[in-house]
Amino acid sequence: MLDVREQARLPFRRMLDLCLDTISYRLFRSAVTVVIIVLAIAFLASIMVEGYLGRSVRDTVVGKTLRRTAYSRFMVRAGHVESIESLLASINALRPGTTDYDNYMAWAGVKTDAQAAAFLKRTRTAGRYLDFFEGLSVGRRALLVRGERDLAIFDWLTDARNRESFHEHLSKQRSLKLPGAPGEFDAFIADWPATRRQLEACRAGYQDTVHRIAALSGPGGVGAALAAAAAENRTEAFFAQVRAAGLRTDPKEIPDILAGIRYQREFNWAIEQLRKQPVRTTWNREWQERFSPTLALRAAADSPARVSWIAGALAKGDAADRARWEKEKARILARTPEGQTPKLPPEPKSWSEGFEAERFTRIAREYAAQAELLEAEQALLNRYGRTAGLSEKAVWLILVSFVVCVVGIANAMLMSVLERFKEIATMKCLGARNGTIGFLFITESTIMGIIGGVIGMVLGFLIVLGRMSWTYGGMLYERFPYESIWYTFLMCLACSLVLSGVAAIYPARVASRMAPMEAMRVD
């Protein structure tokens, strides 16, 4: 046999050495590649981290406002009847096992679990189709259902001729599709009168309960009655009465409801202070702003000067009233003939009486915190919704950034390959296998990918963390989503590996196929 064998493979460690040498020698070029990766991965990391942190803050805030919700829910249930659409939404938001669930089921006259399941199935279907119609443009709604709105749409569709025209128009709208299986909608409409009757029965039950509670509460309303009950230490009896009237209350929520009532009374008192005439009339002049009482209360939260100003305004009002009263009294006394009792005007009532600066400040602070929390909750719910996962738009943006990243790296690597043609060809003359050369470039790119990926994910994470802790402060750390953040890091690392690897495929191919003859070229 002739003495020719296949060439040995270069061990991976040596390959790493070679790559690190080249990377550090061409530091600027490598840095450009790393920066491209850093940008793409930082983008991914920031979007993911923001999503996770945002949802954790959202949950924290919602958890905090839930206590307040117990109070407002009780007040709504005990004092107002919902519209039938709102009733439908409330029913669809119910969770089994809660007292609220029991309340609605009782009002709807549902007795067994099977009945409840059937009822909920109907309301859920109705909710889904209602969402579908709500999502239509005005023009389409005019075309499809003659501009009917809300549950009236279903009423309108109950008529066979209307339904026919609806289906005819719908079939022409290719981009529109009714949710659910075919035929399900017609079945639902056929059933709709029964569904509506049940919803109305539920609403009637609700209404009866509200009437009964109003009757037992007296003219001041439920709030006053409950406050009075709390003052006389007979809340248990009160809630038992309310329950007898048809509204169950979760015992766990009672402390929150009571706290809500107390808070409401304090809040009313503070607003009353701000509505006092001397405060109201001088308010705008002094602060040059048009405050509503609630805004004024918020503004007072972080400024003792404003609170003392309110006290001063009240005192000044008192003094002015007193002076006017004295003057009037003197005038009447001067006019009154001797011996006759003068008809003196009544002494003016004091504005500042009952104003306590400390109490006012405390309420203002509490209110401001509450308001901020509510605003945050609203903003967070708008922004992060109730769902998990990335939005479609975010996914799209990330994909675009990935494509840009891959193209950028591939370009940089290709430049580097073409620039180093002589070096590559020389290595082949020294006995490097084609595969070794290709793998060398993939490894080089991957190393830069890992470096860029780590920098990128830390950078993206820190930026988002900084920005969000600026906005939300300590709330951010109350339910810090460690697991999701780790997951994000893993994801970023995997993405940077895949991106840099994929980007290097073509340049590596070019390098591995380079003719060793090129080494001889002189230019």
Binding site: D3, R5, E6, A8, D21, M427, K428, A515
Partner: protein, 265 residues
């Protein structure tokens, strides 16, 4: 690592066993080699039917005007490119029959290349440049480090092993290149325009170094050159013109004609 060991073991085994195979005195044989470069419709015929033999341990100079095909000849007999027609046998192995990885083996183990522009890897020190060639051959790193230092010592660069190519003079870079070419103890050294980029004195030193290697280790050296100082060191001189070997001088002819030899045209 395993690979490396296997290779060295195999190597020694073969040395040790009595050689059944008749060792041909011819190490490179080119038979009617032509090479054409095609670019669109334009065909450049760089080699037009070269037939030659190089014997083991010979010192051969290839001379010829620029563009006559010296580099192309080197590419083909050095297993860097395949001829358009004809056959090239290195150690009696037809290069055209080898796959990529076997070609890599031939380039690594049998031939050392020395390039006109040195072609050192700029990112590596002199020692790493030499060592990399050994790593490709599967030598383990520690061994390669030791051996590369020994070879650098042999070419007179022991003190400068840690310098990057850009920190070395042309002659020193050429020495590193020679050391690298010697890394895997090749049987053939191919030097393209060996002294073209060097001054007279350095050129002479490099020539002397090659002659010593040729004498001491029996390496077959093939140089393309314009340098007349090479001529009386060479065993044979091929004169190439327009892709054909026009003349071959033996050493004795050269000696006789040394005074009168010039460029025949």
């Amino acid at each position: 690592m395993q690979n490396a060991e296997a290779t060295t073991q195999n190597g020694t085994e073969q040395e040790a066993t009595p050689r059944r195979r008749r060792i041909s005195p011819v190490i490179i044989r080119a038979v009617n080699v032509t090479k054409e470069y095609r670019k669109g419709d334009v065909v450049t015929r760089a080699l037009r039917g070269i037939t030659c033999e190089v014997r083991r341990g010979e010192f051969i100079s290839i001379m010829g005007p620029s563009g006559s095909g010296k580099t192309t000849l080197f590419n083909t007999i050095g297993a860097l490119s395949t001829p358009t027609a004809g056959r090239v046998l290195i150690d009696e192995v037809d290069v055209a029959q080898l796959n990529n990885d076997e070609l890599a083996y031939v380039r690594c183990k049998k031939i050392g290349y020395i390039f006109q522009s040195y072609n050192l890897v700029q990112a590596m020190t002199a020692q790493e440049n030499v060592m990399t060639a050994m790593l490709f051959a599967g030598v383990i790193a520690d061994e390669a480090r030791k051996r590369s230092m020994r070879i650098l010592d042999r070419v007179g660069l022991k003190e400068r092993w840690f310098h990057l190519p850009k920190e070395l003079s042309g002659g020193q870079q050429q020495r590193v290149a020679i050391a690298r070419a010697l890394a895997n103890e090749p049987k053939i050294l191919l030097c393209d325009e060996l002294t073209a980029n060097l001054d007279l004195h350095t050129g002479q030193e490099i020539i002397n170094l090659l002659v010593e290697l040729n004498k001491e280790q029996g390496v077959t050296v093939i140089c393309s050159t314009h340098d007349y100082r090479m001529l009386d060191k060479s065993d044979r001189i091929f004169w190439i013109r327009d892709g054909l070997i026009e003349k071959v001088w033996e050493r004795k002819d050269v000696k006789i004609n040394l005074g009168t030899i010039g460029i025949p045209h």
